[in-house]
Amino acid sequence: MFDAGNTLVWIVWIVAAFACLGSGIAVVSFTNPFFSALALIGNLGALAVLYLLLSAEFVAAAQVLVYAGAVMVMFLFVIAYLGGRADAPWAGGPSWQQVGAVAAAGAILVEIVVAIGLKAGGRLAHQQHVLSSFGSPHAIGRLFLTDHLLAFEITSIVLLVAAIGGVILGSHSRKLAGEKAL
């Protein structure tokens, strides 16, 4: 598994995985939400690298283009607009809620590891060999239009609903002014 030919891949993996985990913890611990959002952008970039290592190049490109390039821009907009007032999570000593939160998160982690390890432990060792066109746009496009057409159409409807919802939530509510006048 670990030989000289793979060294570069392993180095890239280690850097990307630690960047992922580090930025994940950074998102949760920064006080200023703008820095949290920047850390999340780093997280998405590291994840895109991991996707590339898993032969999912179209998903990696879509991740950077859509998630890191559009969704996070929206986040940064709102955070810059609303100002950086946020809570300091660890201020004033750990309260029972915080201890409980850490314990719960730890429990989730242990549960995931145990569940997947018990159920699929042996079978995880062998990966399928895949064609070099595995994650290419061609393969994804074919899947979207043949096997998973329903998922494709439902996704488009979800996006449409979200767009309409965004427009309605964002429009200056004239009704509110009318109620105030009453």
């Binding site: 190049e57 950077v64 890191a68 940064l76 907009f77 810059a80 746009p137």
Partner: protein, 328 residues
């Protein structure tokens, strides 16, 4: 036979330097062309016909005091122009300049990296470039900067959608997202400017808005919001933002040449990079011509145009192209 990694490195170094040189002389070209269109000479003092003007500008910018507003947040303030520059330059790694050559016994590709998703990589880098503006505007801790950067980013995000949709026609006709394949297809069939006229126009207009050029350059107008996101930047930091903007324009022109005008193909001699450069020069000159000619759009006119006119037209172009490609 693939090229060795060190040839890719040398090519990358070469192309980055050539692009920076092209940027420097694009500023001179712009000032000269603007001057001539306004019935005056452009800069002609520094060197013969003003050819040393970019060097003079560079020395001036470096020597200028890069003041640092004390309330600005250090790291993002410094890193913001770097992000814009990086993404603007990185897009050149997938643009094909030639057909590939044989030097001694090595094979040299015409592009630095031939990836199957090259077009998405270019758009993803463009999306990442927006962060330079947002972070720069926010880190300056000034109301003008923040509002200016918000406007800029809203404009960029809006026109990005139309930009991506307008090239769908080209992708459908070429059957690939790889820029190398698209250029090859155009060499064998026809430059896509002919069948995709509407796509070309949409791409061009969205591109002008994406690169903050006139007539869509409201964020930089002096009479609006002081100077937008680069209000609090001076000296070489401001120079980096300007560099990023011009290189974005050059990148977009290179992309237009690649997608619509058959990249490095040319009529007589197989001199790939030369034809590419000439076409690039023509497209950049058209950008400059528009700057000299058209008045600025107001912000609400800009947004209305982007969403209500350009997006439907680009979508329609994609749908009609898809129908025709399937039918024939």
């Amino acid at each position: 036979m693939t090229e060795p990694w060190w040839i890719s490195l040398i090519k990358a170094f070469l192309i980055i330097n050539l692009v920076m040189l092209a940027f420097a002389y694009t500023t001179l070209l712009e000032r000269k062309l603007l001057g001539r269109m306004q019935l005056r000479y452009g800069p002609n003092r520094a060197g013969p016909y003003g050819s040393l003007q970019p060097i003079a500008d560079l020395i001036k910018l470096i020597r200028k005091e890069s003041f640092f507003p004390s309330s600005a947040i250090d790291l993002p303030y410094i890193v913001a122009p770097v992000i814009s520059m990086f993404t603007a330059l990185a897009a050149f790694s997938v643009i094909p300049f030639g057909a590939g050559w044989h030097l001694w016994h090595w094979h040299v590709d015409g592009e630095i990296a031939n990836v199957s998703i090259a077009l998405i990589v270019v758009f993803a880098l463009g999306s990442l470039g927006i962060y330079g503006f947002i972070i720069g505007g926010w880190a300056s801790e000034s109301k003008y900067s923040l509002l200016g950067s918000m406007r800029t980013c809203a404009q960029l995000v809006s026109y990005e959608v139309s930009l991506a949709l307008s090239v769908l026609g080209v992708v459908l006709m070429a059957g690939s997202l790889s820029l190398v394949d698209i250029v090859h297809k155009q060499g064998t069939t026809i430059p896509y400017a002919a069948p995709q006229v509407i796509g070309l126009l949409c791409f061009f207009v969205a591109g002008i808005a994406e690169t903050n050029r006139a007539p869509f350059d409201l964020p930089e107008a002096d009479t609006e919001l002081v100077a937008g996101y680069h209000t609090e930047y001076s000296g070489m930091r401001w120079g980096l933002f300007q560099t990023a903007e011009y290189i974005n324009m050059i990148t977009l022109s290179a992309l237009m040449v690649t997608l619509f005008f058959a990249g490095w193909h040319g009529p007589y001699a197989p001199l790939g990079p030369l034809w590419f450069f000439l076409k690039l020069l023509a497209v950049v000159s058209i950008f400059i011509w528009l700057k000299a000619t058209l008045p600025r759009l107001r912000y609400d006119q800009l947004m209305r145009f982007g969403w209500k006119v350009l997006l439907p037209v680009a979508t329609l172009n994609a749908v009609v192209t898809a129908a025709l490609v399937v039918a024939f």
